[in-house]
């Protein structure tokens, strides 16, 4: 609680700029230099950067796409896949994690199985998922689900275990029932870690959806015209040798990923107002 300046003495303004402006100026400079270097590097055909289309080319390759519904449709498809896989991971992962955190027996049974499956990278599951699930949509969704569920469950279990025993003792001695403790102690106590799990999970799901779309949408050796989505869009541009569109696809996914984690951070702050005051 900062007290307003006492004794009427107006504080001398801080020398030079205010903190906020100073920080922004440097960010703009650094991004500008990056773009300029990229432009020069690609124009001069320096090693590595030479074949990468420069920002100017990428920009005017992007303009026509903005009005092309196919481009936006790939956004929709990727987002739909991410959303469905992510929600499934949440709906199953959180209750499972809570059950494992609260009941010792359930944890002793399922945690070892969970631990042996966790080291297998989600994308190693793609072929098995394609074999198992009838449609390609379901198999991509399953892999996304796998990518997110491990992170969410780990965070839920860690969060529930980190709730200080004092809170349970205090609640118990004030006469709360088990259900009451679950609802008003465990759930709010675990919430911040669930939000962290979601933030990390969404990052992983975007990684998985891109790869899954590439691999099952024609990347590697699987020949199938179905697919769609940003991952497929990038792979398609690669096969069609339109390199600027590759970069457009990459940046679009970057933006999509950034927006989704920003939404989750915003959601997290709304759901846990007390953490904001820390």
């Amino acid at each position: 609680m900062s007290a307003v300046v006492a004794s009427g003495v107006a504080p001398r303004p801080r020398p030079g700029q205010s903190i906020f402006r100073h920080h922004l100026v440097r960010a703009v400079i650094s991004l500008a230099t990056f773009l300029v270097l990229w432009e020069i590097g690609s124009r001069l055909k320096l090693p590595w950067v030479g074949d990468v289309p420069p920002p100017t080319v990428v920009m005017n390759a992007w303009l026509p796409l903005l009005s092309d519904p196919g481009y936006w449709y790939s956004w929709v498809q990727s987002s739909r896949r991410v959303l469905s896989g992510f929600l499934a991971a949440m709906l199953i992962g959180i209750p499972f994690g809570l059950a494992m955190a609260t009941s010792r027996v359930f944890n002793d049974i399922s945690f070892p199985v969970f631990e042996i499956l966790r080291p297998i990278p989600p994308l190693a599951w793609v072929p098995a998922a394609i074999i198992f699930w009838p449609t390609q949509e379901l198999s991509i969704g399953f892999v996304i689900f796998l990518g997110a569920i491990f992170t969410i469950m780990l965070n839920v279990i860690g969060g529930a275990r980190s709730i200080d025993i004092r809170f349970f003792q205090a609640a118990r001695s004030m006469g709360s029932s088990n259900w009451d403790i679950f609802r008003r102690i465990i759930l709010p106590g675990v919430l911040p870690s669930i939000v962290v799990g979601m933030e990390v999970g969404i990052g992983i799901t975007w990684n998985v959806v891109v790869a899954a779309e590439m691999i099952s949408g024609g990347g590697g050796a699987i020949k199938s015209s179905a697919g769609g989505g940003l991952g497929f869009f990038i792979w398609n541009s690669y096969i069609g040798f339109s390199y600027p569109q590759i970069v457009v696809g990459m940046i679009s996914i970057g933006i999509a990923g950034y927006i989704s984690s920003a939404i989750i951070r915003r959601l997290g702050l709304m759901v846990t107002p007390w953490s904001r005051t820390r």
Binding site: W48, D108, W206, G219, Y238, G254
Partner: protein
């Protein structure tokens, strides 16, 4: 003390419940895939088929613990991860230390780092193939990129987690800026650096498998996908299990290295909360 904890563990129900868990998982898999051939499970090989093939001196599809090809794939993947891990550590740790240590450096470089970070590593696959000719470099580039983000970010968090009174105390004792960096910032950030390294080796395996699937010649990722295309489904499961084991082993190694390097933390944690 260890024997006491082990004997206590044996008497508690945990190990037996663990066996129940494994029995349930593998039992269900076995029944669904091999016995009842239920719905879609029919096309998936069961645990018995997996073990038979994996431990078979002369396997049907030429891929078992006894065939040199198997170890060649494992070694190719492992080599790539080690390369990527080494490069990302040598670049990521110093970069993270400077990000945390000097405000100016951070304000100039972090914006670029942050704008590139949301781009999923695997979206770089086609560009990597274009940028780097040949098969090996793109895969290593992708794996390095993935673990570079994790290492740099956690190292920076490590530097920021250091209690400001430590560098101040060192300054009081006459340490120069560089000495503070060497004696305080680096050891202080070490715990976070090792968390970062563990995440980064996990992420390395994550991206390696996908990169190999899309553009690799050898390696477990390639093996998994190729065996799908050649309809050798058992080998897919062998590949998955092998990636899991090697991945787990490599992160366990990183954890051990961490404990070895940070004796002071190990002894402090062993005493419970520091008095």
């Amino acid at each position: 003390m260890f024997t006491y904890r082990f004997s206590k563990w044996l008497r508690s129900p945990t190990p037996y419940l663990m066996l129940v868990g494994f029995a349930l998982f593998f039992g269900a898999w076995f029944l669904l895939s091999e016995v009842f051939k239920f719905w879609r499970f029919a096309s998936l090989p069961g645990p018995r088929q997996l073990l038979v093939e994996w431990f078979n001196p002369n396997p049907v599809y030429g891929m078992s613990l006894y065939t040199p090809d198997y170890y060649m794939h494992v070694w190719m993947s492992l080599r790539r991860v080690l390369y990527a891990f080494a490069i990302s550590t040598c670049l990521g740790v110093p970069f993270g230390l400077f990000l945390g240590w000097s405000k100016a450096f951070k304000e100039f470089t972090f914006p670029v780092f942050e704008t590139l970070r949301p781009i999923p590593v695997l979206a770089w696959v086609p560009l990597a193939i274009v940028m780097f000719k040949g098969d090996e470099t793109p895969v290593i580039f992708l794996t390095t990129l993935a673990s570079f983000y994790a290492t740099a970010l956690n190292t920076m968090l490590g530097v920021q987690s250091i209690d400001p009174s430590f560098p101040r105390a060192a300054a009081c004792l006459g340490a120069s800026k560089w000495q503070i960096f060497r004696h305080i910032i680096v050891p202080g950030a070490l715990p976070f650096i090792f968390t970062g390294l563990q995440i980064s080796i996990g992420v390395a395996w994550f991206s390696l498998v996908a990169a190999e699937m899309v553009s690799g010649e050898y390696g477990l990722g390639y093996l998994i996908l190729a065996s799908y295309v050649n309809v050798q489904y058992v080998v897919i499961i062998i590949g998955m299990v092998s990636v899991g084991i090697v991945g787990y082993a490599s992160s366990a190694l990183v954890r051990l290295a961490g404990d070895y390097l940070m004796q002071w933390r190990v002894r402090e944690l062993a005493l419970g909360s520091g008095r």
